[in-house]
């Protein structure tokens, strides 16, 4: 672990050195990268931690937005009828990030202007969520808040900004934690350099999270050859039953 970190730091320094030397010619710029661009979900996956790092030149503060693949997400609602809680209206939000985190070195409320947060969708309160059907303003707000609340409960959305550490000399780093139920697909990590309330530079870093190994193979067969998978599942179950029986018969 320590050795890996050391190698990463050396690698960072080598990458960064030319830009530091270039100095004034590139007045404002951000270079960011990840310790890995692909996270494979294997059978022993219980979540992962990846290192996000980079360097910044020029004035300003940094804010990082991590978004998972966009999905349609449906929020349901329960009402009580004759003593029993039953499902009421469903609202589906289009192209909603399935994973969302914000990283910053200082609390956003203290320095990032609201209009910037709105236009760049920085922070869960500023996500643009569009419902598939027309609903009233008050109702939309309720469902929207419920979506964020429930996504936070399942650890898909962050509750507060994560910590971006400034190491001096323009270097920065942050640990990104991925929970065990992390959605699979293509992620984008956007790093904004904000100077006097205005975004002066943006850097996009891609990240792909997907199943690998036996798990990926099982998933593929289940979805592409359902009938075959079903027959295999039945055979395995019958064999497991027979096997258990044979073992216990002897004893």
């Amino acid at each position: 672990m320590a050795q890996r970190l050391f190698t990463t730091l050396i690698f960072m320094t080598i990458c960064i050195a030319p830009y530091l030397a270039a100095g004034p010619s590139r007045a404002q710029s951000v270079i960011a990268d990840l310790s890995e661009h692909f996270v494979g979900i294997t059978a022993d996956f219980t979540g992962a931690k990846i290192l996000f790092f980079g360097t910044v030149t020029g004035p300003g503060k940094l804010v990082v937005v991590i978004s998972g693949p966009a999905k349609d997400i449906t929020v349901g609602n329960k009402v009580q009828r004759v003593g029993i809680w039953i499902n009421d209206e469903n609202v589906t939000f289009k192209n909603t990030p399935s994973f969302y985190r914000v990283l910053s070195s200082e609390p956003l409320d203290e320095w990032l202007p609201l209009d910037t947060r709105e236009t760049k969708q920085i922070g869960v309160e500023y996500l643009k969520l569009e419902s598939t059907k027309a609903i009233g303003r008050a109702k939309a707000a309720d469902y929207r808040a419920a979506l964020v609340r429930n996504m936070q409960k399942k650890k898909y959305y962050g509750k507060a900004e994560g910590q971006l550490k400034l190491l001096g000399g323009g270097l920065f780093r942050a640990d990104i934690f991925l929970p065990s139920n992390v959605p699979t697909g293509d992620y984008t990590i956007k790093t904004y350099l904000v100077s006097f309330g205005r975004v002066t530079h943006m850097e996009v870093t891609p990240l792909n999270i997907n199943k690998t190994g036996i798990g990926a193979e099982i998933y593929r067969v289940a979805h592409q050859h359902g009938a075959l998978y079903g027959v295999a599942a039945i055979i395995i179950a019958v064999l497991a039953g027979l096997g258990g029986n044979a073992i216990f018969r002897k004893s």
Partner: protein, 314 residues
């Protein structure tokens, strides 16, 4: 490679798309497998809610449970067969009714879903069937235990009523019955519908129906029920895998290993208990599951909003 917070007891489930503790699942499998060995029920009515409680998506819980029940039923049926406690003739007739019923049930399920509130229909059918069957079995077994204390009052093997006037009479030697084949066919059909809608093998409905409606001896009921559950759940597994891709083989295998071991012990325990004790115990378990589901329907949820199944991350 990513820096992992690895604990070797956890396993990532490829279809459920989450990481679970291996020993917890083995233990759950063993517990429910033991019940299935004792009572001849698949245990789906108990395991499915437990899996959902663990955070497994409900559709995956139902599909995978069907797969797991095959294993524990195969294991259990051989243990009963060795004791000569499987009525294959009766089981096969129940099965014919069951396959027709469950196919009809799948279409009924789709129709109910198009009307909305399918969740409520499922939950209410659980409450009604578990409640009615549990209370009937409990009162009957208590009465039987009281009768046992007063010697001299001999119980008839079964009551004769209009059902015995039906045509197509058949002799079931193992069950010591001479009744119309229409009767088990009808029972199989109705249980088949229920198992399709509720996503269970239907053992907890089938066992009391065989005892009280058909008048079969309790000893034969358990093995015969397991025998027909194998085929009903194999049918369900195939349909779930092809239509919905909701069978998680890794999850099922973990549960199977536990259940197969549990079922063997269960069969031994069941052989030591008397019929009415067996029925009384099953009645209590059925009633507690019923009470839990009813409680969940009535109590105010923590959050009246929720992310609908099938969305949110997957």
């Amino acid at each position: 490679m990513a820096a992992r917070t690895t604990e070797s007891v956890n396993l990532y489930l490829p279809i459920a798309e989450m990481s679970v503790n291996i020993f917890l699942l083995l233990g759950m499998g063993a517990g429910v497998g033991m019940l299935s060995g004792i009572f001849g029920v698949g245990g789906g009515f108990l395991m499915t809610p437990l899996l959902i409680f663990l955070g497994i998506p409900p559709a995956v819980a139902v599909g995978t449970e069907a797969n797991q029940i095959i294993a524990s039923s195969v294991s259990g049926v051989f243990a009963h067969w060795r004791r000569g406690n499987v009525d294959f003739k009766m089981g096969s007739i129940l099965l014919v009714g069951g396959i027709v019923g469950s196919t009809f049930g799948v279409f009924l399920f789709q129709y109910l879903r198009s009307l909305g509130h399918i969740d409520l229909v499922i939950m209410l059918s659980y409450v009604i069937f578990l409640g009615v069957i549990g209370s009937l079995m409990l009162t009957e077994s208590i009465r039987a235990m009281q009768r046992r204390k007063r010697p001299g009052s001999l119980r008839k093997l079964h009551q004769h009523n209009f059902l015995h006037g039906l045509p197509f009479k058949m002799r079931f030697r193992r069950s010591k019955l001479y009744i119309s084949a229409l009767l088990p066919l009808m029972i199989g059909f109705i249980v088949g519908i229920l198992s399709a809608i509720m996503g269970v093998g239907g053992g907890f409905v089938m066992v009391p129906a065989m005892i009280y409606l058909l008048g079969m001896p309790t000893a034969v009921v358990v093995g015969t029920s397991l025998y027909q559950i194998i085929f009903v759940t194999a049918n369900a597994t195939f349909l779930q895998a092809t239509l919905n891709q909701t069978v998680d083989i890794v999850l099922a295998l973990l549960l199977m290993i536990g259940a197969v071991i549990g079922a063997q012990f269960g069969t031994q325990v069941g052989a030591k208990l008397r019929g009415e004790q067996l029925r009384g115990l099953l009645a209590l378990i059925v009633l507690s599951v019923c009470a839990k589901i009813l409680y969940d329907l009535v109590v105010t949820p923590d959050d009246i909003y929720f992310l609908s199944h099938g969305s949110g991350g997957h």
